[in-house]
Amino acid sequence: MSDASLPIEQVRWQWLPPWLRPRTVEHKGTGSMRLVETTLLVLAAVLLAVATVNDVGRSVSVNHRLVADLRTWRHYTGHDYHNISIDQQTFGLDSQREVLCANTSPGPPEARTQICLAIWGPVVKGRRTVHGGWYLPPRSVDLPANRYGCFGPGAAGICRR
């Protein structure tokens, strides 16, 4: 085909080597590009599916543990409160050791003196073991400077005052 018979759009790109020239309609070819793309897509989908299922299993395990922690806090303090904060950072995200804090007497969240419990170990009969704890003044967050009255081996080195 001569240049004269090409549309203006294609003539503009004649200076490029053929494999670099733009196309208005995709060249079907042997379909190898599509095969490679589809294979990569399937592999990516498998990776995402495995990661998703793994994460669901992980979440289930964490939920199971946290429900046991809430039961433990209520059993230990004798208060059937529902506004209990759970902190997974104090002992490290992967430590499976949690700190649960809530009021020692009825009131809005953090409005009263709070008791925090350090809880870890296996779930036995729906609860885990309390290894120690500390108190926080009303309207304060669980920072080392605010902790007082530490008790139990789990609180060793946790209190600063």
Binding site: E9, R12, P22, R23, T24, V25, E26, H27, M33, E37, T38, L41, A44, A45, L47, L48, A49, V50, A51, T52, V53, N54, D55, V56, R58, S59, V60, S61, N63, H64, L66, V67, L70, H82, L93, D94
Partner: protein, 451 residues
């Protein structure tokens, strides 16, 4: 296959075709019932799935019960199952007459309209974002503050403040100046009025997007009823997108308007310039849609889209600067800030957990960005060599949501309107698979109930 075997299979196929319309009816009812359950239970409030809100759905109280994780997830799974069945059936013809669909187009429209209206009538679902939109609008109109330099915490005394998500009270708006200016007229309507206006805005944007999808599907010789069913009845679109009145719906309206302008039978230079300007307008609502622009330009290879885009960028920058100063047009800073966020639902976090890491690290952000750049370069090359730019844009949006460390349900809606107006069926399958994985990731409270 032998002639005998073929003739034996015919009655089986005829039987399956007879019950297909009944199955469509049943699945549609299931989808509506599950959506109603979520909305009616959500109307009661006091649920972790319904953010604290001014009483806008009080007239629905007393019908449902408090919406818990268990009921919500069961309803969501029922919706997803019914939706999957409808999508599968909508691709088949009834067999009674050639080309007659199992699901008549009137039925598809009625179903989609019913789902959208049910959610519109109910409470705000699953997200506090709409209150952030209102807070930014009230900051500008009622308090004379620049929402690009202050977070909602600057208006602690305003009635909207207590409804803003606590993670966002210190965060200045990341939305485009066009969206912020569009939301300003709603601020004087009062909290309840403005909330209804936001919900109406989302509903109208959704209706507009669906109408444009219909038009694009017709132009491209695809089944328009199936296209709007796949988008408009999608549980994530209905429950999360419309339920939360997210501005992503307005962004998607601009996106589909641009696509509709370019895939007209004979697009003129003016239409192509307008299409590019419309993409820029969409990016001035939410920046993500800007990813369409390079694909449109590479596909068209004409001056029109470039001129249209540059003119719109200049105008948008001028308006943004006059209204909000330099912070109003500093899109890069806002994108960089948001790119650093990490959500538990992101695939990046899931993969980090899979390989034994506690979460996503800064190096992972860089790797994900590099992967995204490679995907986009490959798609641009394919578009240059004749691949459909609309499909390439859909893949790019899907890649953005999959590689994002901050993934929310309404982000994986972005590629869906493009996927139903392209001939590359892999895009639709991939989008729906990603959505299905997102839903699966939500189900852990069903397996180990939380309080």
């Amino acid at each position: 296959m032998s002639a005998v075997a073929y003739s034996e299979r015919l009655p089986v196929r005829a039987r399956s075709q007879r019950w297909a319309p009944a199955l469509v009816g049943l699945l549609s009812l299931l989808l509506i019932a599950a959506t109603l359950e979520i909305v009616l239970d959500g109307a009661l409030g006091h649920s972790p799935l319904v953010p604290p809100s001014p009483d806008i759905a009080g007239w629905l109280e007393g019908i449902g019960e408090r919406l818990g994780y268990r009921v919500f997830l069961i309803a969501l799974l029922v919706s997803v199952g019914a939706y999957a069945g409808l999508v599968a059936l909508s691709g088949r013809s009834s067999g009674e007459s050639a080309g007659a669909a199992v699901m008549p187009w009137r039925w598809a429209i009625a179903l989609v309209a019913a789902l959208q209206l049910i959610v519109f009538a109910g409470p705000v679902l699953l997200s506090t974002d709409v209150f952030s939109y209102l807070a930014y609008a009230r900051m500008g109109v009622e308090h004379g503050l620049n929402p690009y330099t202050h977070g909602p915490v600057a208006i602690v005394g305003d009635p909207v403040f207590k409804y803003v998500g606590k993670d966002w009270i210190h965060v200045a708006t990341a939305y485009g100046p066009l969206y912020t200016l569009l939301s300003y007229p709603l601020a004087p309507l009062g909290l309840v009025g403005a909330l209804w206006a936001m919900k109406l805005e989302a509903l109208l944007a959704s209706a507009g997007t669906l109408a444009l999808i219909w038009r694009c599907a017709c132009t491209r010789g695809l089944d328009p009823a199936r296209a709007i069913l796949i988008v408009g009845a999608n549980p994530l679109y209905v429950i999360y997108g419309l339920g939360g009145a997210h501005n992503d719906l307005i962004m998607m309206l601009a996106m589909m308007a641009a696509v509709s302008l370019t895939i007209a039978p004979a697009p003129t230079r003016g239409r192509e310039a307008t299409a590019a300007a419309t993409v820029v307008a969409g990016a001035l609502i939410k920046a993500t849609v800007a990813v369409l622009l390079p694909f449109m330009i590479v596909s068209r290879r004409r001056l029109g889209p470039i001129v249209g885009a540059l003119a719109a960028i200049a105008l948008g920058a001028l308006v943004g600067y006059v209204a909000f100063g330099i912070h109003g047009i500093d899109v890069v800073a806002a994108l960089n800030r948001d790119a650093a966020f990490v959500s538990t639902d992101s695939f990046a976090t899931e993969i980090a957990h899979l390989v034994g890491k506690p979460g996503v690290f800064p190096i992972d952000h860089d790797l994900l960005k590099a992967a995204l750049v490679l995907v986009i370069l490959h798609l641009l090359w394919r578009t240059w060599r004749g691949y459909d730019w609309v499909a390439a844009s859909g893949w790019a949006l899907l890649a953005i949501s999959v590689t994002s460390t901050w993934l929310l349900a309404w982000y994986i809606l972005w590629p869906l309107p493009l996927a139903v107006v392209t001939r590359d069926r892999r895009l639709l399958v991939a989008t729906l698979v990603v959505q299905a994985l997102f839903v699966i990731h939500q189900i852990s409270p069903l397996l180990a109930p939380v309080e």
